[in-house]
Symmetry: C2
Subunit: 136 residues, 2 copies
């Protein structure tokens, strides 16, 4: 695959081809998805739900620094986008379990890949920052 062919393959991600706008304003897919899971907490929530369904407070404990409010807001948003399921068991006290939908499981794959990259390269980024700051 040569460079121009690769460019053509990537092009659709960047902005819709003129004439192919799907909803009035032209939006590129990656932008649209980032607008939904690109906030501070969504990706962390998805990673934490990848293994098995988790209850609200357990989730809260496993995500360092998240407030109750933001966990609620984030879960609602992910549920709205069809990435997360919410299951209430009418016990007392109530138990609410959150899990990933199939769609959620599927996005968890590339997200986990990004997580692997993060774990492998965080030090290199820190180092680069130090070098840059020293040189300026």
């Amino acid at each position: 695959m040569n460079a121009s062919a690769k460019a053509a393959a990537v092009a659709p991600l960047l902005h819709t081809t003129p004439g192919f706008e799907t909803d009035g304003r032209d939006t590129c897919p990656i932008r649209e998805v980032l607008d939904r899971v690109g906030d501070t907490w969504s990706i962390l929530v998805i990673i934490n739900l990848q293994e098995q369904p988790v209850r609200f407070n357990a989730l809260k404990r496993s995500i360092e620094g998240i407030s109750q409010r933001m966990l609620t807001v984030t879960l609602r948003s992910l549920e709205r986008d069809g990435l997360v399921t919410r299951t209430v068991r009418p016990t007392t006290p109530p138990e609410v379990e959150y899990g990933l939908t199939e769609l959620g499981q599927s996005i968890a794959v590339p997200i986990a890949a990004l997580g692997d990259w993060a774990a492998a390269n965080r030090d290199q980024m820190r180092c680069a920052r130090g070098t840059f700051d020293a040189g300026s």
Copy 2:
């Protein structure tokens, strides 16, 4: 690989093990990386630089909706983190080319994977949102 083994493999991504904090506050790798490329524009810039180095205004034109200011800010940030290179050719008018470093190329891989997911599943997310909004 069973569930608990997978959980153990993912665990380091979530929060550092007690006693392993590297900089006072404990940070999980994915959080740290998202703090750097998780803003509105970084990922789009990286995708646009993946194929070949691009000059400032060409980049600006290819990223729908980005302002001159935010492109500058984003590029500086990525350069600082060692993901992007900046090459000035002292012509008149000046030409400044931006490209990905090796580190930048490596993060472009999982990012492109996320882009592919976005392209493949955006419609499903839109649909889910419609259903959710109708049901509430």
